[in-house]
Symmetry: C2
Subunit: 123 residues, 2 copies
């Protein structure tokens, strides 16, 4: 289960970087070896590391940005890829997120984040 624990720790590090508005930590979360893809709720796809990190600079620099409460993670590991699908609660709004990690330098780095709003959060 160490692999799964490491993957969940990497997922937690993503949300910790978000919640502490720590751009440097967010930069360490994201992969260097593959195309980075990010969809913020309602946004078009960002598909370069530069575009993804520029979006985080704007979001983390926004004084009005609330924290994310993540939960209900579903975890799959297939070879060199780890998928964490979870819920996010942001200022009372329900979001579901797909986070795809790849192995890099002995750890898990985020290759894809896709967050989207749900009409009604249940359970």
């Amino acid at each position: 289960m160490a692999d799964r624990d490491d993957l969940l720790a990497a997922n937690d590090a993503f949300y910790a970087a978000f919640n502490t508005k720590d751009y440097e930590a967010m930069d360490r979360v994201w992969a260097e070896s593959v195309t980075c893809i990010c969809v913020h709720p309602g946004w078009m796809t960002l598909a370069t590391r530069e575009a993804v990190m520029a979006s985080w600079a704007a979001i983390l620099g926004n004084p009005g940005q609330g924290k994310i409460l993540p939960g209900a993670a579903i975890v799959s590991i297939v070879g060199e890829t780890g998928i964490v699908h979870c819920r996010e609660l942001v200022a009372g709004a329900g979001i579901v997120a797909t986070n795809v990690f790849v192995r890099e330098g002995g750890g898990w780095r985020l290759a894809l984040h896709h967050g989207s709003g749900v009409a009604r959060m249940e359970g």
Copy 2:
């Protein structure tokens, strides 16, 4: 590039199953070996194969369901996992989709589909 072509063919097969409302073909698209995860735009996460296929039965059985025009695919292959992130145009509405495939029986099968609406489609 054969691997990439096979992955794009699997992605095309997903949209072909949708557009021809062919439940049996949709059933063949989805993985058997891993947790199946599906987010339809605005829906909560479906996280069992049974729940995912039940949703397709409802969607494909809906006479009012329009076709999807997919495009702008971004492809990453990492070991046994293939990621296709693309746009979907459905009845003029813009959607972005993350499709994660895994290798099964020599082919690519869909393990995760996450579609979400965008406020404004560009490019």
